[in-house]
């Protein structure tokens, strides 16, 4: 089975809010000096889902693909180190456009170019844009089924079986392959590659394609790019009106809090 995993390189989402900066003129996040870009954690879990199918005895070939410039090779190398077999870098479209149509159009074309993908996995959303659009878009463009928010992914006899997270439990969904599945954090932790695997991955080749190579219709591509514009990117201002309740003992603090909440009609 050939599994394509769509990954995105993003600023580390774990950095403290206090260190997060935006250039409002450029409408861009200011990179933190010395902080490396990382694979979006949901995408890491999508790759983990693919690798677990292999762990369970299935013969799988895993291709990681991403959009971006030369710098995005790092995220592919990380995928190879985790256990992917092949990597594809697609140049010529910014993954940061915030426009899921552009990204989905290019990825769908790349999947067609790969030709024999049975299962396409992606994170439920990129942890920068937090949109969660591309997986569904790729499926719609390829005309294949999609299951979102997977907490487990199994495949057998040409059918993928997914536990899909909903508000108060999960649905079990079966879909014929080929299909797209987006993976949620409920899947659990992604494996961390060893130093040896990282070294070995650094020597593995990365296939480079451009949007032009993929035969994406230029007029369609231009139309996609006009579907939305980013008007503003900013850090929301905190209200900052917290009343700290002190007290000699926890009991005194608690009693004082209850009293203040009653006075303010919060309780």
């Amino acid at each position: 089975m050939h599994i394509a995993v769509c990954v995105k390189q993003i600023p580390n989402p774990e950095i403290a809010a206090s260190q997060f900066r935006i250039d409002e003129q450029a409408k861009k996040v200011v990179p933190l000096p010395g902080a490396a870009l990382v694979m979006s954690p949901f995408d890491e879990q999508a790759l983990e889902a693919a690798l677990r199918l292999r762990d369970n005895g299935m013969t799988v070939r895993v291709t990681v693909l991403t959009l971006g410039g030369e710098g995005a090779r790092a995220v592919l190398k990380h995928g190879l180190a985790m256990g992917a077999d092949d990597a594809v870098l697609i140049a010529g479209a910014s993954p940061d456009s915030g426009n899921g149509f552009v990204t989905a159009r290019v990825i769908a074309a790349a999947i067609r170019r790969l030709g024999d993908c049975d299962l396409i996995l992606a994170g439920r959303q990129a942890a920068d844009g937090d949109a969660g659009v591309v997986g569904c878009g790729v499926a719609e463009m390829l005309g294949v089924p999609v299951v979102t928010f997977a907490r487990s992914v199994e495949a057998k006899d040409g059918v993928v079986r997914v536990e899909r997270v909903v508000e108060n439990g999960f649905d079990v969904i079966e879909a014929p392959l080929p299909a797209v599945v987006t993976v949620s954090n409920e899947l659990g932790k992604a494996r961390a590659p060893s130093l040896r695997e990282t070294m070995r991955a650094s020597r593995k080749p990365v296939t480079a394609w451009s949007v032009a190579d993929l035969g994406v219709d230029a007029a369609q591509f231009a139309q996609d790019q006009r579907r939305c514009t980013l008007a503003r990117l900013f850090i929301p201002v905190d209200a900052g009106r917290c009343e700290f309740i002190a007290g000699d003992t926890p009991e005194a603090q608690a009693a004082r809090l209850v009293q203040r909440m009653r006075e303010e009609k919060v309780l």
């Binding site: 997060f20 969660g132 997270v165 439990g169 929301p236 917290c242 603090q253 919060v266």
Partner: protein, 327 residues
């Protein structure tokens, strides 16, 4: 500029729109208010037509087939596409939940429009639609102009006021042809947690724990406090990912969005992705050992100290208050 039409995909329960569904109708009405416009409601698996008209719809498209009551991606997408081609709306509103976040992108691609998910504000500007939404895990907020139409938008719970129900309102209820081809992706089982106690989404009080609880045992104290306050217990993402509590308790950007009157955040630092799920709470009380934790910037009241002493003390203080009130 063509006549304004807004379509809302409204979830119903017991023949009435859910709180989130009613908010969508309220938002749709408000979008139409300045220059006039028509609000259509799409209601699948229900015959709640008149009730939706009272709550703001001018036109209701119903597919009363009970088999559609629970969300199924392919059938709902096909029917929503059918409804949208009938109504030809400029804006399609959905709730940002596991249904809307799945349906909205699919619909946008089918209709060759544009999509924005998890929005906190929607406004109209000429022919284009402007949305505001948190991104970068809630650390940032963006304003995006959607130029391709229809603009398919999922809206976070608690970001709009419901329309005050008015039974005198008139409207038209249309049955939507509900036959669809067999779905390729089929739901073979629906597992739900037994809803003991108050559900998080409906709770007036939510007591939530984070990384600072340092283990599953910490949630016991939170449950006691929630019981005293008649509330529900939730969590930030870390305790769920670490297995201290089930993921169904997760509140945040990728979990549930709650809008209680009172939100008690215990051992939660207040990362943006968590605040995206609880920022709509009317009042936040934060309990944390770190006085510099970002959660205090969003809190009305703050207690700095060890939750292991403070939470039980608070439960006792609330119990004492109730006893005094009853006496």
């Amino acid at each position: 500029m063509s006549a304004l039409r807004v379509m809302a995909v409204v979830a119903t329960r017991g023949g009435l729109p859910t709180a989130a569904g009613a908010e969508l109708l309220g938002l749709a009405r408000r979008l139409c208010a300045p220059g006039g416009g028509e609000v259509s409601a799409l209601a699948l698996g229900t015959g709640a037509g008149e009730k939706l008209i009272a709550r703001g719809a001018d036109r209701v498209l119903c597919a009363a087939d009970g088999a559609l009551a629970d969300y199924e991606s392919e059938r709902w997408t096909t029917l929503a596409e059918r409804a949208a081609k009938h109504v030809r709306p400029r804006v399609i509103l959905l709730s940002h939940d596991s249904c809307g976040a799945d349906l909205a992108p699919r619909l946008a691609f089918r209709l060759d429009g544009m999509v924005a998910t998890g929005c906190v504000a929607v406004t109209l500007d000429g022919d284009s639609v402007t949305v505001e939404r948190p991104c970068y895990g809630g650390n940032a907020q963006e304003v995006v102009v959607l130029c391709a139409l229809p603009a398919v938008v999922t809206v976070r719970h608690g970001c709009a006021d419901a329309f005050i129900a008015d039974d005198a309102r008139h409207g038209e209820v249309t049955a939507l042809e509900s036959a669809v081809p067999d779905a390729r992706a089929r739901v073979v089982e629906r597992r739900r947690e037994s809803g003991a106690g108050v559900s998080l989404e409906d709770a007036r009080v939510v007591v939530a724990g984070g990384r600072g609880l340092n283990g599953a045992e910490g949630f016991e104290a939170l449950r006691d406090l929630a019981r005293q306050m008649g509330g529900a217990v939730g969590a930030s993402r870390v305790p769920c990912d670490l297995g201290w509590c089930p993921h169904s308790m997760q509140i945040g950007l990728t979990g549930k969005t709650v809008t209680p009157e009172l939100y008690v955040a215990v051992g939660i630092s207040g990362a943006g992705h968590h605040l995206a799920g609880c920022g709509g709470a009317k009042n936040i009380v934060a309990i944390n050992t770190d006085a510099g934790a970002p959660i205090f910037k969003h809190a009305r009241f703050g207690l700095v100290g060890d939750y292991r002493a403070l939470v039980p003390a608070l439960a006792r203080a609330v119990a004492a208050m109730k006893a005094a009130g009853a006496a």
